[in-house]
């Protein structure tokens, strides 16, 4: 029983790491723009496909590159391309609306639509057959005890989540850029008057958020290997739930929320039929949003009457 529990815990931490990383991306954009970037989950999905093609391309032309160098190249290139995608979406779809001072509702709808375009565009271009993400790193398995195993990949995933969080915390709390990001979330109008280049900061935020999604995308592909165009949707929503539960707008909340959700889901699946997993996650979201809408770490915003 104990080993069953520990094994599940390890899997939960791995699963939760993905939620965390994606949740952090949501959080960044929301923290700065008060915008729920519904396309984020689909950016994650797209990054997985981008990685697939990068790996296919590299291994086809440079057969000597495998293992860690391959991983690093894939990581860097995919992060870059995904960041470009995120920035592109911001420029083309969100910025014009921001410039017009359009109601936030319209931007949210646009984000939702962009998500659909990414999903269905993928489906249209690449077809419905699911692909298999290639193996990059050789698998190393360690036995921690009777029927408890952990692979190097799982360790990598979990460590990545922590590293990503640490880097983000550093950027947001300790750098000028981070301070600008936080400032913009408080008052979008006064900030340009203080010499902060709002557009640059926003561009950076999207680039960073998308790059994070890319890290998650590559690791996800390596961990579970099944790819399909709709994989971003459900995971995106769950990660979003995680961010909200933790307290959207606060990266600590997003980080912890991701692990919490991962643990809940894996343990639900351990004891109940797996079809209940989604149901329970969403019910939890509903309950938390009804009773504590700001989540665990969030700050309530009150309107001045």
């Amino acid at each position: 029983m104990f080993s069953y529990f520990v094994q599940n815990l390890i899997n939960a931490l791995q699963w939760g790491s993905f939620y965390s990383m994606i949740a952090l991306g949501y959080c960044l954009v929301y923290g700065v723009l008060r915008l729920i970037n519904f396309a984020h989950g689909d950016i994650f999905m797209t990054s997985c496909y981008i990685a697939f093609f990068v790996i296919t391309g590299v291994t086809a032309h440079f057969t000597g590159i495998t293992g860690i160098p391959l991983f690093v190249i894939t990581l860097v290139v995919t992060m870059g391309l995904t960041a470009l995608l995120g920035v592109g979406i911001e420029r083309v779809a969100y910025r014009p609306l921001r410039k017009k001072g359009a109601n936030r509702l319209y931007v949210v709808i646009t984000a939702l639509m962009i998500g659909f375009i990414l999903e269905n565009g993928n489906l249209a271009l690449l077809g419905a057959s699911s692909r298999r993400f290639p193996d990059i790193l050789p698998k190393v398995i360690w036995n921690l005890g009777p029927s408890i195993t952990i692979t190097n990949l799982k360790v990598l995933v979990i460590i990545s989540a922590f590293v990503v969080f640490a880097i983000l915390q550093f950027i947001v709390q300790k750098t000028t850029l981070g301070m600008s990001m936080r400032a913009i979330s408080y008052d979008k109008f006064a900030i340009p008057l203080m010499g902060i280049p709002v557009n640059t900061v926003i561009t950076f935020t999207f680039a960073l958020g998308s790059a994070l999604a890319a890290i998650a995308g590559i690791l996800f592909g390596m961990s579970y290997q099944v790819m399909d165009p709709y994989m971003g949707m459900i995971i995106g929503w769950k990660a979003f739930i995680a961010a909200v539960v933790g307290g959207i707008g606060d990266i600590r909340g997003a980080f912890l929320g991701g692990f919490m959700l991962g643990i809940i889901e894996i343990f639900v699946t351990a004891f109940l039929p797996s079809s209940y997993k989604d149901l329970i996650s969403f019910v939890i979201l509903l309950v938390i949003l009804t009773f504590k809408p700001t989540g665990f770490f969030g700050v309530a915003k009150s309107t001045k009457i």
Binding site: R34, I36, A93, P96, L97, A102, N103, R104, L105, Y106, V107, V108, I109, T110, L112, M113, I114, F116, I117, E119, N120, G121, L123, A124, M233, W237, F240, I241, V244, P273, S275, Y276, D278, L279, F282, V283, L285, L286, L289, T290, P293, I305
Partner: protein, 357 residues
């Protein structure tokens, strides 16, 4: 034409047009394919107009309309199967004779709608305290909860779906040979439009619109905003449930995946295309949207790239939609002549002062 007669002008014309179409369908001039399209238009009119109550008139952002459609679809289907389908997957035998199908059908549909109303409390009650983004999330979560819950109920087929509703339809046709699907579609769509118009244009219903413009001053002016929100959500969801029932019986087969966020998006597109707070806008955009979808059918998956793109472009260039918050009679004032004037809007003549003797 006198005012009294004018009251019946537009309704009579509408009924006449519908009767003509039904006749044409009966004799086969309008074949099954076109009947299905007309039915779909009716269902979309109901979905679009009902969502407009919450997203348009009240100015909230409800993205879970598909979920309420699902509730209505499933409840009415279950009822239909239990009552009329011999050998159905739930009770095994039919409870009522086929001849009662015509009479029972509207009740089946309405009960589906009532069920949706109850489920909508999941969204209505949180809406008292939350708005905007958070409420949007709650509505989406509710949509998912409904579909995933249905997935987990084996007796209604779970993810494999539910079928057998066509039996009820065929029993209706056997009793009286008419294109019943079309008839019921028209009936419920017309009722929806009338009902929404009456409620939203009454002083009671205008309280709902007041929330959109300024919720705080609405409260100050004695509008019970919680009641208004409750009314708007239950009303809107009930109608979505009705649409769901019609949808289920038209297709004869339903499964939870048809009612997910994609379905909700369809309704969103129609509302924002037609104009927030414009009933005529919702009806018009339902027409256009259905026909567009049909025209794009050959493009298959690309269809679902084009529709989101359309909505994005609307958001960029004309976010208020076709008609904005205005009705057709405001864009074309001459149309007002078709309707009897609202005497409450005419300035009363001041009573003549008594002459002192």
């Amino acid at each position: 034409m006198t005012d009294k007669k004018k009251k019946f002008l537009v309704p009579s014309i509408t009924v006449l047009v519908m009767l003509i179409i039904i006749l044409l369908a009966k004799v086969g001039v309008i074949n099954n394919y076109y009947q299905t399209i007309l039915m779909t238009i009716c269902i979309n009119v109901i979905m679009s107009a009902s969502l407009n109550v919450v997203n348009g008139y009240m100015g909230e952002f409800s993205c879970g309309h598909g979920g309420f459609m699902a509730v209505g679809a499933y409840v009415s289907s279950i009822l239909s199967l239990i009552l009329f389908c011999p050998g159905n997957s739930i009770t095994g035998h039919a409870l009522l004779p086929p001849s009662m199908a015509i009479v029972a059908f509207p009740f089946i549909i309405l009960i589906g709608g009532a069920a949706s109303m109850v489920v909508s409390l999941l969204v209505a009650i949180p809406s008292f305290k939350t708005r905007d983004d958070y409420l949007a999330i709650i509505t989406i979560a509710t949509n998912f909860i409904i579909t995933t819950a249905i997935n987990n109920i084996p007796i209604v087929g779970g993810s494999r779906g539910l079928m057998g509703m066509k039996t009820t339809m065929s029993f209706m046709a056997k009793t009286v040979s008419l294109p019943w699907m079309l008839i019921w579609g028209f009936v419920f769509a017309a009722l929806t439009v009338v009902v929404i118009h009456r409620v939203m244009h009454s002083t009671l219903g205008m309280g709902i619109s007041a929330i959109r413009y300024d919720e705080i001053s609405a409260e100050i002016m004695s509008v019970n905003t919680n009641s208004m929100k409750l009314l708007a959500f239950t009303f809107s969801s009930g109608l979505a449930g009705v649409a769901g029932g019609l949808f289920a019986h038209m297709l004869g087969f339903i499964n939870p995946s048809s009612f997910g966020i994609m379905k909700s998006t369809e309704s969103l597109v129609m509302v924002y295309l037609g104009g927030m707070g414009s009933l005529s806008g919702s009806v018009i955009s339902a027409f256009i949207f259905t026909i567009l979808l049909e025209l794009l059918r050959p493009a298959q998956i690309l269809k679902w790239v084009i529709i989101p793109l359309m909505l994005i472009l609307i958001m960029q260039f004309r976010p208020e939609g076709f008609m904005g918050p205005r009705e057709l009679t405001q864009v074309f004032p001459r149309l007002k002549n078709l309707f009897a004037p609202n005497r409450n809007l005419i300035r009363p003549i001041a009573k003549p002062t008594e002459v002192r003797k």
